[in-house]
Symmetry: C2
Subunit: 123 residues, 2 copies
């Protein structure tokens, strides 16, 4: 009964109430997760490199300010403010911040490795 109540209740969050997790000196991360999807706010300083990695989660990255140069399955794609990129599940990708950047990532399903803290490629 309590589980059913918990999953039927909306969760209200403020980015300013969620402590940014400094993954390395140039990247911090916040996230809010549901059961089927997760929204993350990633702040990257210019020059930040996210090494190549892949995950079974589909990712939709939406850039609010700045720009990231992704390399996705060998193709370089600059994604700037007002733009999005859909990265299918299991496709290897990396990114370089061309400017200080605010990126919103949506994952489906949620990133269990982030929830568990087993995301060593970012640390």
């Amino acid at each position: 009964m309590s589980e059913q109540l918990a999953t039927s209740k909306a969760g209200h969050h403020r980015w300013s109430d969620i402590m940014p997790e400094p993954m390395n000196p140039l990247l911090s991360r916040q996230f809010v997760s549901g059961e089927k999807g997760m929204a993350a706010r990633i702040l990257l300083k210019k020059g930040c490199i996210v090494p190549e990695h892949s995950h079974p989660n589909e990712q939709i990255a939406m850039i609010l300010s700045g720009a990231l140069e992704f390399e996705i399955a060998g193709e370089k794609i600059v994604v700037a403010a007002g733009e999005l990129i859909v990265i299918p599940a299991d496709v290897p990708h990396s990114a370089v911040a061309l400017e200080d950047t605010e990126d919103i990532d949506f994952f489906a399903p949620p990133r269990q490795d982030w929830i568990d803290g087993t995301d060593s490629y970012l640390r």
Copy 2:
């Protein structure tokens, strides 16, 4: 072979290249869909009412500017810029725009009713 290529290819999109769909005089919508999730950009004018509805898709709404007053399973929750709300699957909800509002909605899985145009509650 071509299907496999298609699903492994990243999709790059600009909100400014996607024609906003005017659902009613106070609400317009754009969306970008993957296979597992969908990101939508909803512009609501002050006073816009989204009538109560529900869907099997989990929804994470993130307000970029303005504010929406949601009513979710009978509870009123104001969600303002910099805030998010996670609405579990199948939970009835409605919303009123307290100001002109830019809302980003992330759905998992994608809203098939939007893709098919069978979303009469918005029209």
